[in-house]
Symmetry: C2
Subunit: 314 residues, 2 copies
Amino acid sequence: MNTKSLSLGIDIGGTNTAYGLVNRRGEIIAKGSIPTKGHDTVEDYIAALQKELFPLLAKAGIEHIAGAGIGAPNGNFYTGEIIFAPNLPWKGIIPLAKLISEALDIKAVLTNDANAAAIGEMAYGAAKGMKDFIIVTLGTGLGSGFVANGQLIYGHDGLAGELGHVIAVRNGRQCNCGRKGCLERYASATGLVITADLWLDERNDETQLRAHKGKLTARMIQDAARNSDVLALELYEYTAAILGQTLADMVAITSPEAIVFFGGLANAGDMLLVPVKKHMEDNLLNIYKNKVTLLQSALPDADAAILGASALAW
Amino acid sequence: MNTKSLSLGIDIGGTNTAYGLVNRRGEIIAKGSIPTKGHDTVEDYIAALQKELFPLLAKAGIEHIAGAGIGAPNGNFYTGEIIFAPNLPWKGIIPLAKLISEALDIKAVLTNDANAAAIGEMAYGAAKGMKDFIIVTLGTGLGSGFVANGQLIYGHDGLAGELGHVIAVRNGRQCNCGRKGCLERYASATGLVITADLWLDERNDETQLRAHKGKLTARMIQDAARNSDVLALELYEYTAAILGQTLADMVAITSPEAIVFFGGLANAGDMLLVPVKKHMEDNLLNIYKNKVTLLQSALPDADAAILGASALAW
């Protein structure tokens, strides 16, 4: 057991990198952010991060820092590397945990952003005390973390938990990964907008979304649905159906106590979760019915990933 | 750590119950079987089992017996109960671990048959030393056990690992479970025969299988395929395609080092595993390609379930 009192959480997103110093009670006692973009090389980025973090760590007293936990897209827990992350500026395989550990002179552990969120939810959030749950992050893409027996499932290579790339619709929409019909092409902010654009092309419904055709965002669709726009509500229903039926299959594998939803699209709350629950239940094998709770993340949005990453370092 | 030298493995199938006394090296030092059917009540069955096992345990010296491990269809590890098993004579919820423990006066632990096989493969078989793998049992139905971080995934309710009831074909074949398109309606001995019967109805291929129409077995199809019967080979290819593409989705969840195949249909060996591997690889997300080994169970068929069940008791 690590007896130091603080841990550094770093959440690397495609646009920004947020960081925070977190105590053992899960309170962020100092935080900040720098742009992820705009650094030509990963070394420049690490230098910028070092310049921000050194004074922070010095002020807290580096002897109190247990280490750094890092959440990043395509992060590999076992190797500490980022593996071909399409949404980050640096290509190929980046030994990020090692680079940050050397730059800050503290231990550093890395995992993918959804796994970090799962750890955060388990330590401080909606999944506190649970041993078997799934976290689904609904942002630009769809990320996931599966927890079984109280442990994150990393897989033999550290790359488990890619629910976004389970095939939801056989021979369906073309995905960035090169295959067709991946869940994240339907159930994510991007997927919701793709569906909306298709429907606006194909159909003649009267909808406030039509005015934004070609530059729609998931947020606009959420606002329209809150305004009872019929097409927007139907978009949620369609997205929820595909997500719910895929989740029903996942329940048959890990039989979780709960599924926790996190990220921009999940902020729609019941507007999304009520139909997801309905479609999941309709598709569940009998023995799993009425057992799985769907929850929205209980962590404040900007903090969850920092908390999750920081929890890795203990 | 349990220091006793022997453990009793009991494998309860729909037709027969096999049992064996197993030492710490995984050697079965005595074994036998009784019919599962033909007992009107579970109490009669337990009495018959007791009559067989008491002398066996007495001869070995009951003080050396660590306990009994039981594998049974729809067995729940947490509760020790059999939950609504469609292929067993006793209906409803049966507290089997408790009944056997009381009858034999030893500790008893129960799990489902596929989980028992997974434990057997991990302790003594093809998955020895592995921490992340999947076992798929291809018999009358399709059972599965998922191992992550060296532990079986039981789920919050003890009922995880129902790969046979993941939807492989949306709105596909009617399953006994009441839903449509479950994997086991395609990839199992039963599924293979259903496909064959359908094709014999719909198509005019010349095939040695036609002579057996209406009373086909998976074994006949295997024999025909070994005889290079074109339709039989195509049946394997079709079954392998559906199994392979579903396994590709499962790899994205638990990222296993290997998938171990067990049971009657798996005895076809490469005739099945080579096309399953091909279709799985064709459908895998890039990061998982060429990493997952498909293996046939290395345990002698009749012993694997006994060994697996017995390993539970240590």
